[in-house]
Amino acid sequence: MKAEISRRRFLQGSVALSIAGGVSMSPSAIMASASASTKPEDIGKTKKVATLCEMCVNKCAAFAYVKNGIVTKLDPNPYFPKSRNMLCPRGNSGLAAIYDVDRLKYPLIRDGEKGSGKFKRATWDEAYSYISEKLTKILDEEKDNRSTVAFCAGEGMAEHTFKNFYTGFGSAHFLNHASLCLATTVSGYSLTIGGYGQADLENADYVVMAGANRAEAIVTPDSMDFFKRTTGRGAKLVVVDPRFTNTAAKSDKWLGINVGTDLAFVLALTYVVIKEDIYNKEFVENHFNDFATYKKHVLQNEYTPEWAEKITGIKAEDIYQVARDFMHHAPQSIYYQGRRTTWSKNDFQLRRAQAIFSALGGGIDIKGGICFGKSIAMEGHEVSAPIYDQAKSRIDAKEAAVVGGSGTWVGFRNMVLEGRNPYPIRALFNYKHNPMANMPNSAKTEAFLKKLDLVVTIDTMPSDTVMLSDVILPECTYLERTDPAKVYGGIEPAIVQRNKVVEPMYESKPVIEIMRGLSKKVSKPLFEITKKYDEEVQDTIEEDGEEATYEEFDLTKAFEESQEDLNHHAVAKYAGAAESLHAKGVFYPNMDKYFKKLNVNEYEYYPESKKYYSVMNKKFKTPSGKIECNLSSLTKRGIDAMPTWKKEYEIAVPDGQFRFITGRHAQFTQSGSSNNKMLLDLVPTNYMWINKRVASRMGIKFGDEVEVASKVGKTTIKAYPTEKIGLDTIFFIHGFGNKSQELTLASGNGGNDANIIEDSIEPMHGATCLHDTIVEIRKV
């Protein structure tokens, strides 16, 4: 659910919380069966509950089988168009997540030096009280500057609930994974073609996947749709990657590119199609803004394939061929957008260049191209967003050209560490986020977390970040909670809902209950601080009385209703939606008519004629309504108006050293599953890819322990010599090498990429450059 947050001044009289839609049927009655504990008559019977996976970001629909109160199996749920009808290895391994013996079981309060790993068990009330006392003290000392408390969250369906707390709290600092992940690609595509969009891989004829590894870093429905059509079965695939990935194994052509040189490759492709005049003229003429300037820019700079060959290591003839083939199949040709894309300093420009090149074929908002699709309207609920006069603005706003609502995590952290913050940053609320593992330079992250007076972490597992917290609040896993219903727009939109499968284990709670308890404890004391320092509030109290004024600042209101009720209200206008969301986990208008089984494996969600391939009517969501080639407004922020290759992008790898790249396997994508027994059974640890010939020269054999060291840190890992990687590159997957002693299986298992990646950021959004690190290796 997307909340409509009203940012109204309380002086203008705002409503604290309003829930739209009537209550037609008691949601608690509908939900009763899902949340009830085992009744005697149910013993031995198997119950099937519709849930949504949370092992990664895709939110695949699943059915959980429950017997005697125990989740016995997770099966794919075929009703969700986005996830089709599947569960990947991570999805299957949710069983090992809920029944992980190392789970956080009770609230804990630090009881020793920070980082010592010593905690004492507390009741929820003790934990809330502890937080309340600390917060009150900090805010009193900071004179109600709410921004002294930062909030960060990992991606997840309940991130929204946590964010409601942040909104009510009134800090300027929210930080999430965007600047460590896909900020540049989302904005690169949005500013160029009007949206990140959805690549229609079910119908595309020609796809270039550069860096995107859809056979391993599974994204729904892309991965499922596409690999049924590759290898001579309808779709041509070109993979551009410094590694020979499982995706490359499915390609028609694999181009092993030099790390960080993709922009040169795309510019050369653009050069070829312009020079040879093979782009989609009709589309460019009607739907491009300022193409002439871009054309001139590309031609004058002579971004020829021959030029690009020297930089990228890709043969000029291959570049010519890809450019021509792409246009031959256009508009059913896609230069795939990619995710987790902050690789290098030029990343924003790279995504712009990709978007423009893709658009040159006309494959935008069209079947087989990049589509924007449709959403389904849900009733939102308003959450009060009080304005605190003493709350100062973001400290990291100037760290990059455009710093959005989720900040630049690395920029923010480094400012605090380097003392460049204009006012103290003293506390951090962290929901389900593990910056120790996912932010480059974990030594700095550790120092940052230690520097803070109060770190409150809500999580399910004792991650490295959790171990550096002051208060740990155990969240239940996704199988133990109902989360906000959410719309997944696209070619085949649907609303989905995660239903509680079993009762939370131990003393863990869903985040909405944690927020409810916490807000009850802190709301009043925090208001007292505001009263003390906020003159506007003092004025209002004089005018309206204290009680009326407090209404606006009452943090508890956002969490009064149960998640089940909130979800029910959100879809109240659709008949049968709440019931469908409960029973099937999925709803979309006309689902009962449209949903059809095609064969034992496949389902049809929307009839072909009802799919939302083209929705924009050729009016794109850019300032000019056209494809933007030349964003001249960015120049005054120091950002190139057009994608331009610069000499500084060419990072030479000194002899005997390597450029480090990171990535995913289908079994491990998130650091959160590093202790998962079922996944570790498939891949027991991560290995460092090193070229076989180089390894043999260095005397490194398979399984040898090697130390990988960069300027910022080092890590130890086993070697995997392979020809699937270039001579000057090394690679290992993310999420391993945890320090936390509380993770029985993950502790000290494998190499940690966050230890060695340097913490430089790119200029547009301050997103991290994950692939700009040079490392040395030695056998240990």
Binding site: D75, L87, C88, F227, N246, A249, S251, N601, E723
Partner: protein, 187 residues
């Protein structure tokens, strides 16, 4: 009564190994190096960077081939390995003496010792876990992201699998041994 088999559109396999974890969860297969009913095979990449042979990197989802003429069944001294009514090659744990002769005899490395029952275990097309509960798919088929597997009745000409192998060419593994496998790798 049916004759169950499985067609594998193996070129769709992305080697994510969801089938392995689904199988383990469904059938209670214990973790461990030797404990698996199904697996995905792959070759070592051929060629030198950047000239890697794409063709050398196909993935081969594998499991018991449910041979019509199963070597494992022939060699079993106590008939613990048997064909059930649906032609599925299964192990009767009451009769298994754990001589492991069948493990030696299987040309496909499809058998292993289950530490729960201390008898030989293998893929049984989820006969006792899913089919017995009225499901019509195996765990590996149901979970597969790219829908590699199609399980069904080879005796029913209208079944999806019969239609598939009637329409498309396929190869079989080690069929020269006369095992008559019921797994069909679609080309």
């Amino acid at each position: 009564m049916a004759r169950y088999g499985m067609a594998l559109d193996y070129k769709s396999c992305i080697n994510c190994r969801a089938c392995e974890s689904a199988c383990k969860a469904e059938n209670g297969v214990l973790p461990g190096r030797d404990n698996y009913r199904i697996w995905v095979g792959q070759k070592e990449a051929e060629g030198e960077f950047p000239n890697i042979s794409i063709a050398s990197m196909t993935y081969h989802p594998s499991q018991c081939q449910h041979c019509d003429n199963a070597p494992c069944q022939q060699v079993c001294p106590t008939n613990a390995t048997y064909y059930d009514d649906n032609g599925v090659v299964r192990v009767d744990i009451e009769k298994c003496i754990l001589c492991t002769y069948c493990i030696n005899a299987c040309p496909y490395d499809a058998r292993y010792v289950d530490d729960r029952t201390v008898t030989v275990d293998k893929c049984n097309f989820c006969s006792d876990t899913r089919l017995a509960n009225g499901e019509t798919t195996t765990a590996c088929q149901a979970t597969c992201p790219t829908k590699v597997r199609t399980f069904g009745d080879l005796d029913d000409p209208n079944s999806d699998i019969s239609q598939l192998i009637a329409k498309r060419e396929y190869k079989q593994v080690k069929e020269h041994l006369g095992t008559k496998p019921k797994l069909f790798y679609l080309l």
